[in-house]
């Protein structure tokens, strides 16, 4: 364990982001042009923190009495969150003016939510997990309802807040029961004696409550009812961040909790729970998405299905599948934010152009957007050589290693179903005639974000080994 003052130095990414939040508030107070400056300040902070985390991967320690972990998989997650936030901020520069939420608080809240995610992914103590989760969730509740004049925004924020606090209640009650039985909040202490505790019904109930709360946060069936309404009602850029980085943060906690279980005791204690979650999420998400005409709603159901694929990895509960989930999350973050960015550029001022009809004949109007949308749809469908394919490949491989071949087959079947609704978008873009005439807004930041995500999706798809090797080194 490193010396005491060095511990603070290891927390540099978190400290930089925290200082950035306070600095952003000061910029907003003391300058008149805060709204124009803040996106660039946030971008620089996110870029620095993301890249710095990736460069300090090797400094993998448990610090502050074993409550938090720096480096290793926490650093990989920091990279994912910060790049996702960077892309979201780039998208937002033009979008939030159109959406009438042109406040500097928007950027401050995004920064705070990313801080919450980073705290979640480094936590090795239930209290730290809970604080990070709350920080992230509260920022998301506000971001979902930032435009008070829009009914859809209010609906999204209220539904998200009520159901989200309900899920938080489950988590807190679970934590209370776990603490009551084990007398410890450290995940290591809890799982060292997992087998002994697992005879205690209250401990199992506590663990299940914790898992149910997080199943809500990752948007898995049967805790998915809020997802379509919230994703559709919130601003598109916010939805992009919520559905990707927010989900990744919740998965990072599940990987920490179940991954510690891997080290100390039986990794398959909650296999049945996650098998059922995965089975329901993949099938229900894919099947309902077929009937959706609104693109944001379709992507919401697709996000439920993707949560299901990743839950297959949790059910498998071995080294390969956990590494696969991390890879899948990275790929999913990039392809989904890309798709949401394109939606945010095409949708009209009052969200009028969200249906598939608006995408008919898009390739004539803007070949670049058309090509990139097709790229992201192929990637989401899991067609090689895009990143989405390898995400699914690693997770299903882990499931087969764990003798869960039936679950892998269900996953493949549901991917086949999902190809239909992803490719339908491409059919509309390239093979349908234009039905309504409109001009596509020019958005420099949006185009930059789309190009970046497109490159990342192709890079992860063509050279999956580079990133995968990094991840497997740190999943023990």
């Amino acid at each position: 364990m490193p010396a005491n003052n060095y511990e603070y130095f290891l927390l540099l990414p978190h400290i930089v982001l925290s200082v950035g939040i306070v600095l952003s508030i000061l910029i907003e107070i003391f300058t008149k042009k805060g709204k124009e400056i803040l996106p660039w300040v946030s971008s620089i902070i996110f870029l620095f923190v993301g890249v710095y985390s990736l460069l300090t991967l090797d400094k993998n320690f448990l610090i502050f009495g074993g409550t938090v972990e720096v480096g290793g998989k926490a650093a990989i997650f920091n990279f994912i969150f910060n790049i996702a936030a960077l892309l979201t901020v780039l998208t937002s520069i033009d979008y939030i003016k159109k959406y009438e939420i042109f406040y500097s608080e928007y950027y401050i809240l995004i920064q705070s939510s990313v801080l919450g995610m980073m705290v979640m992914s480094m936590a090795h103590d239930i209290i730290v997990i809970f604080m990070g989760l709350e920080l992230m969730s509260i920022c998301f509740y506000v971001l979902a309802g930032l435009n008070r004049k829009r009914l859809s925004n209010n609906e999204a924020a209220l539904k998200y807040f009520l159901l989200g606090s309900f899920a938080t209640g489950f988590i807190v009650y679970g934590i209370a029961l776990i603490y009551g039985i084990t007398g410890a909040t450290s995940i290591q202490n809890i799982f060292e004696n997992f087998i002994q505790y697992s005879n205690n019904i209250l401990f199992i109930v506590g663990m299940l409550l914790l898992l149910i709360g997080f199943s809500f946060k990752i948007a898995a069936v049967p805790f998915h009812m809020w997802v379509p309404d919230v994703y559709q009602g919130a601003a598109t850029s916010v939805t992009g961040l919520m559905s990707t980085a927010g989900k990744a943060a919740a998965f990072s906690v599940l990987i920490i909790v179940l991954g510690s279980n891997l080290t100390y005791s039986s990794p398959i204690a909650f296999r049945n729970y996650f098998s059922i979650i995965a089975l329901l999420s993949t099938l229900i998400g894919s099947i309902i998405a077929i009937s959706q005409n609104n693109l944001k709603r379709m992507l919401a159901y697709s996000s439920i299905a993707h949560a299901g694929y990743m839950a297959i990895g949790l059910a498998a509960g071995n080294k390969y599948s956990f590494a696969g989930i991390v890879f899948y999350l990275a790929a999913y973050v990039f392809m989904n934010i890309g798709a949401f960015t394109i939606i945010s550029i095409i949708e009209g001022k009052d969200e009028t152009r969200l249906t598939l009809d608006s995408y008919a004949g898009l390739y004539k109007k803007n070949p670049f957007l058309a090509a990139m949308m097709s790229l992201f749809m192929f990637a989401l469908a899991g067609i090689p050589p895009m990143a989405g394919f390898f995400g699914k490949y690693y997770v299903f491989f882990g499931a087969i290693q764990a003798d869960l071949t039936w679950l892998a087959i269900i996953g493949v079947l549901s991917s086949v179903i999902s190809v239909y609704f992803y490719l339908r978008v491409i059919v509309y873009i390239y093979f349908m005639n234009e039905t309504e005439k409109f001009d596509i807004e020019k958005s420099l930041g949006g185009n930059l974000a789309i190009s970046l995500t497109g490159l990342l999706v192709l890079f992860f798809g063509i050279f999956p080994d580079t990133f995968m090797n990094l991840i497997t080194n740190f999943i023990k």
Binding site: S18, I21, I25, F64, G65, G66, T67, V68, Y103, E105, I108, L109, S112, S113, L115, G116, V119, D125, I127, V128, F130, M131, G132, E134, L135, I138, C139, Y141, V142, G145, L146, R148, K149
Partner: protein, 171 residues
């Protein structure tokens, strides 16, 4: 008589009188203010028992946060309807007396027959000692520094969020 007993008598008297005053006032707001006084007296009793942390939490959370909520609700709602409730339903009073008597007998039994302060196990003694400000502060500033600092940012984010959502004018 040493100072602890004198303080206990004073605080206990204040707590008992204020709780009786609280339930006998007609005006709900005055009742609430007596409840605050009662909370403060209880916090003093906790201090005498060497449970400093609980005393501070009692003042901050109960007397501070929860009572402010109570007062807001009382001022916003019309409390006139409450009188009718008691006039119409005499049964409620007997039920309340029954519950209060039951709890009183239970506590009296525990104090005089159960003698809870005797035969403490070492773990219980340790948990009593961990209630001091020093132990909690030391934990908060060493091992739990991260959740402690994050809670600061949580409050900051919640304040910003509340301001954005409740701000009167759009710019």
């Amino acid at each position: 008589m040493n100072i602890e007993i004198i303080l206990f008598l004073i605080l206990g008297l204040v707590a008992a009188i204020s709780s009786v005053m609280m339930i006998t006032r007609k005006n709900a707001v005055i009742s609430a203010v007596f409840l605050v006084l009662n909370f403060f007296a209880l916090a003093g009793l906790y201090l005498l028992l060497n449970a400093q942390f609980i005393a501070v939490v009692q003042v901050i959370v109960y007397a501070g946060a929860i009572m402010v909520l109570f007062l807001f609700v009382l001022m916003l709602l019309n409390t006139e309807a409450e009188h009718k409730l008691f006039i119409d339903k005499k049964g409620i009073k007997f039920f309340a007396i029954f519950i209060a008597a039951f709890v009183f007998i239970e506590i009296a039994f525990l104090i005089f027959k159960g003698s809870p302060s005797k035969n403490l196990s070492p773990e219980q003694v340790a948990s009593i000692n961990s209630g001091t400000i020093e132990t909690i502060g030391q934990q908060l500033y060493t091992n739990y520094i991260i959740p402690f600092e994050v809670s600061g940012f949580l409050l900051l984010a919640a304040t910003i969020g509340a301001l954005v959502l409740a701000k009167k004018k759009f710019e």
